[in-house]
């Protein structure tokens, strides 16, 4: 039945939505049925049998597992009869023989402390009080709910397995595992990684990895989904492992533009002790990633800046806010607008960006304002110019129903991780994936067609695909006929794209271009994920043009599960654009600001440094540039290479200490919620800027709360009109209000532009060697040895450097030589054995494992490590044979 099934649970009328099982329908009605192997958003498994209920239908009674059984119309379900409860107790009792349970079934469970003398003789190691999940144990709750009462504990043998605490971020203690297989299933059917599996069988079956290997080589992306679903203490986050939380706050992750809704668990001291993905999150659907799940901790760091500092005699000394503001007033005041610059934080809220933009315009009167990760980047600006929004045209989770996907010059599995989850789901369910990327990334391993063009020729390749579609008449004729502006011009221009020429200039066989074109054009709904990695501004614009044209002629705009998704960086880059924190007329963007600082044209700056790191790929020259300034104000949560050059340092509140809003890639405006008031004199970004503005005589900066700022935003920014905090409370709203898919209005027109062959072909540079580093989750075809010199596992494997035979020849290298890849300034980017399988002249590749990165990030000695995640940036390089390494192993051979 389309509108659901009506049946009864314990005498109550319940309507199950189509496809729901009895358990799901009951959960919607807040009727509790115990369950352990089931988990929301996962496929029912029916293995633990804790959810047994009695169903009476068609005059017959039966006991069924409610998690796998759909309700029959008019059925009567009993969840609480004596028989059902007895059966359920029996089932849970059997499970208890696998888990330490002396405490679980003890009446003193709530009273007992770790030091108490146990009258039941429960071994210390088997006690609940020493379990990290003691206060939040789902198994305990279930045992208590079924009122299991074991007078004498069951025979139970501790498995006596070592605890795996040598992999990054989380611990695995399989002594506590009840083999519900939630972790295995979430990894496989939600994350599509299969980094864990069920091993062995029957009584000794357990969760594990192949040959018991480390997670570093088993394909783990350290997203922590397994930790979130574990009902026992088997899987736990390592930091704050035993910490008890007293409250949960729904907030938003501020590491990437996906904007995952997260639950922050807060302890009694106001510290955020855990971050877990919110199952109700619209943007993330209950998922998170390594940076989101484990990168939240910097807000608790003891080295947080607590009060303002001003530099006197070369030394930063403690100061009051008033002193600091006075100093700022004289430092920033009285300068010409060209000398000033404002850099906002990529994590900064809409309020921060808005007030900073207002301050730059009305007080400093400068056009030099940008987010540190470049809010004015070519990718988004061109998208906005063409489509009216520098953002995704469709919601993120639309991707799960896409039938084909085209990913260009982006690495969403690392940079926008949760956006890749629905994409991977679509591929698992049969969607075809075309990847245009010179690098080997996780997605290239799933790709139906991996097109590995000469770097810079991506736009040409996309245009070539469009040309094939026209050639073979695969375009969406209705859409082209009724919805496109200037379709004729586009068609005319595409006729100049001779496929043989495209094939020559991109280095991709024409047969493969044709296959890719057919995949994209022949599917019902195709989405384009568009990055700008390794692209110049011009090339990025051309890629956007070519992609929009492609999406338009295939009718994938305004269609569910189609659309275009930009893969940019910075959690609130879109918000910064919306709020006007982008360079004004003749203003400098971040790159120009840095060059202006170096040349001495920019003399004073305000930097909001939360999430800004000189170690992030695009900002490596920032610390050196800041050194040249006459006057620098930095608002930062932590001391860093940015604050080292500051004249005034202001303490900043973090994501956890403010109520504010962020806008994610799918245009969803979401609320950050406060977990605890700032402990010292920290101020949020907008408070800081407003205080500076007021000190400098600005008017209109008298906001009392973030909500006041947002009210002004709603008046000033047309896309935000009608929004307020009240309306954003339940999961956020996409702008323009109530339009989750752009161009879904049948009357709206999409303007396509003609493409110029020579322009597209010229964006590909030639002559130099380009290094395109790759990174994947696992590579079973290659050997990995995991070594454990001390406490942690490390990946040890032979590196390969992919070079084209022609390039090797001109560098005088032979296949199998140990070579190194060197940048112009002498950095060695890769070192390894040369293999001659690079597909393009001029392209050098080397693939590393994500596990290596995870270890590196885990060991990084900085509180806020997420901005330091190295991306897979391209570099111009030279090749040379590597000097012989003085290694014990090598010498012995």
């Amino acid at each position: 039945m389309a509108d659901g099934t009506t049946f009864k649970i314990d005498g109550r009328d319940v309507v199950a939505k189509p496809g729901q099982t009895i358990l799901q329908a009951a959960m919607d009605q807040d009727i509790y049925i115990p369950y352990l192997c089931y988990y929301p958003k996962m496929k029912p498994q029916g293995s633990c049998r804790a959810c047994m209920v009695e169903v009476e239908a068609n005059g017959r009674k039966m006991m069924v597992a409610s998690c796998t059984t759909p309700p029959m119309p008019e059925a009567e379900v009993t969840t609480n009869s004596e028989e059902v409860e007895g059966l359920r107790r029996n089932v849970v009792e059997l499970l208890m023989s696998e888990h330490p349970h002396g405490c679980l079934t003890c009446h003193r469970i709530e009273l007992c402390g770790p030091q108490d003398i146990c009258q039941r003789h429960v071994t210390v190691t088997d006690r609940c009080t020493i379990c990290p999940k003691n206060e939040r144990c789902e198994l305990k709750d279930t045992v208590r709910a079924v009122e299991l009462d074991l007078r004498t504990p069951l025979n139970y043998h501790r498995r006596d397995l070592p605890i795996h605490s040598d992999d990054p971020f989380y611990d695995r203690d399989y002594n506590l595992c009840i083999v519900c297989s939630r972790c295995v299933r979430v990894c496989d059917e939600v994350r599509f990684d299969t980094a864990l599996t069920l091993t062995s069988r029957s009584g000794v079956a357990l969760v594990g990895t192949s040959h018991g290997t480390s997670l570093l080589e088993s394909g783990c992306e350290f997203c922590g989904a397994c930790v979130d679903v574990c009902p026992t203490g088997s899987l736990t986050e390592r930091n704050y492992k035993w910490e008890k939380a007293v409250s949960e706050v729904a907030t938003v992750c501020t590491n990437c533009p996906v904007g995952c809704q997260m639950i922050a668990e807060v302890n009694k001291f106001g510290k955020v002790v855990r971050f877990k993905a919110d199952l109700a999150g619209a943007a993330n659907n209950g998922q998170a990633c390594m940076t989101g799940k484990f990168g939240y901790e910097y807000t608790n760091d003891s080295s947080r800046l607590k009060r303002p500092y001003v530099r006197e005699g070369g030394i930063l000394r403690k100061a009051t806010w008033d002193e600091a503001l006075e100093k700022i007033k004289s430092g920033l005041g009285g300068r010409s607008s060209e000398e000033l610059a404002v850099i906002t934080s990529p994590r900064g809220s809409n309020e921060d960006q808005y007030v900073a933009a207002k301050f730059a315009k009305s007080v400093l009167k400068t056009a030099n304002i940008d987010s540190a990760l470049n809010a004015d980047n070519a990718l988004l600006s061109r998208l906005e110019a063409r489509l009216g929004a520098g953002a995704a045209t469709n919601p993120i989770w639309d991707l799960e129903n896409s039938k084909s996907l085209l990913v260009v010059a982006g690495n969403p599995t690392e940079e926008q991780n949760v956006l890749a989850v629905p994409a991977k789901k679509a591929v698992r369910e049969g969607a075809k994936l075309v990847v245009i990327d010179s690098r080997e990334t996780e997605l290239t391993r799933y790709a139906t067609e991996w097109l590995r063009p000469k770097p810079g020729s991506e736009a040409l390749l996309i245009a070539g695909i469009s040309r094939v579609i026209l050639d073979e008449a695969l375009e969406d004729k209705e859409f082209v006929g009724s919805r496109l502006d200037q379709a004729e011009e586009l068609k005319q221009s595409l006729w100049t794209f001779d496929l043989a020429k495209v094939s020559r200039d991109t280095g991709i066989e024409d047969a493969q271009i044709r296959r890719a074109a057919r995949i994209f054009a022949e599917s019902d709904a195709g989405a384009i994920l568009l990055g700008d990695d390794g692209l110049t501004d011009k090339a990025a614009e051309l890629v956007v043009d070519a992609s929009i044209d492609l999406a338009a002629i295939t009718g994938n705009l305004g269609k569910a599960s189609g659309g275009i998704f930009p893969l940019y960086r910075g959690a609130n880059t879109l918000g910064a654009r919306d709020m006007g924190a982008t360079p004004g007329e003749n203003g400098r963007d971040i790159a120009e600001m840095m060059s202006g600082m170096t040349s001495g044209d920019v003399k004073a700056a305000l930097v909001m440094a939360d999430g800004v790191s000189g170690y992030s790929p695009t900002l490596s020259s920032l610390p050196a540039a800041l050194e040249n300034l006459d006057f620098l104000v930095v608002s930062a949560a932590l001391d860093s290479e940015i604050t080292h050059h500051a004249n005034v340092v202001l303490p900043a509140a973090t994501y956890a200490e403010q109520n504010s809003s962020l806008t994610n890639v799918e245009r969803r405006v979401q609320l950050l919620r406060i977990t605890a008031e700032p402990k010292h004199e920290e101020k949020t970004g907008w408070e800081t800027v407003a205080a500076i503005a007021n000190a400098m005589g600005g008017t209109g900066f008298d906001y009392a709360t973030a909500s006041d700022v947002f009210t002004e935003i709603a008046q000033e920014v047309s896309n935000y009109s009608g929004l307020n905090y009240e309306r954003l409370q339940s999961g956020g709203i996409q702008w323009p209000v109530d339009s989750s898919i752009l161009f879904s209005d049948e009357a709206s027109k999409v303007t396509v532009v003609a493409l110029n062959y020579d322009e597209l072909a010229n964006s590909a540079e030639s002559g130099s060697l380009t290094f395109a580093p790759g990174r994947v989750l696992s590579q079973p075809e290659r050997d990995v040895v995991v070594r454990k010199p001390a406490d942690m596992n490390y990946v040890d494997r032979e590196q390969f450097v992919q070079v084209h035979p022609d390039d090797a020849k001109s560098a005088g290298l032979n296949e199998g030589d140990v070579i190194q890849v060197k940048t112009d300034d002498g950095h060695i980017l890769a070192r390894g054995k040369a293999v001659f399988d690079s597909p393009q002249v001029g392209l050098v590749g080397a693939t590393t494992l994500f596990g290596e990165l995870a270890t590196k990030m885990h060991e990084l000695d900085v509180a806020d490590w997420t901005p330091q995640m190295p991306g897979l940036g391209y570099s111009t390089v030279t090749l040379e044979s590597a000097p012989v390494e003085q290694e014990a192993g090598a010498a012995a051979d």
Binding site: T194, G219, P780, E781, D783, D796, E798, A892, D893
Partner: protein
């Protein structure tokens, strides 16, 4: 990894790849591939799991869950020769337990497995199918009947290259 490890491993992988590709049957699965590898090299090293995953388009963990499910797959290198000792009911009645005890002593092990010198793998067998000849043992699947503790121990020692 040292160069020697790498070379040994890549040789093994090459061998495994050949076995995987030589499967003639119409339906090739993870299980059939694992059986083919074990038939050929008598155990499933780490390389076998990885090569099978690559060959079948699966992941190492999925292959491992299949491999570890079946108790007849082994993951460590077997001894040079296999010695089966029947401990089925018929052999048991005519003294298989004593035979087993003496073989244990001769091989210096206490249960199934490899002798410390790696020359002999001992397996318990529930029936070798020659009950009239019990107690039965088998060397590399060739049956030898009518064993006594002494004769079986002698054979076991000979297999290890020790003079009886």
């Amino acid at each position: 990894m040292t160069t020697a490890e790498t070379e040994q491993s890549s040789k093994l992988r090459e061998q495994i790849r050949q076995v995987l590709n030589a499967q003639a049957q119409p339906t090739i699965t993870v299980l059939s591939s694992l059986i083919a590898v074990q038939d050929s090299i008598h155990y499933l090293p780490d390389e076998a799991i990885k090569e099978t995953a690559t060959f079948c388009g699966s992941t190492i963990n999925e292959v491992w869950s299949v491999a570890s499910f079946y108790t007849n797959f082994r993951f460590t290198e077997p001894g040079d020769k296999t010695l089966d000792v029947c401990w089925g009911p018929s052999c048991h009645l005519v003294g298989a337990q004593q035979v087993l005890d003496s073989v244990h002593a001769a091989l210096e092990i206490k249960e199934e497995g490899e002798s410390p010198d790696g020359k002999v793998t001992l397996k318990y067998n529930t029936c070798l199918g020659a009950c009239a000849q019990g107690p039965v043992i088998a060397i590399n699947h060739h049956l030898i009947g009518k064993q006594t503790p002494e004769s079986a121990a002698k054979i076991a020692r000979e297999l290890r290259g020790q003079s009886s």
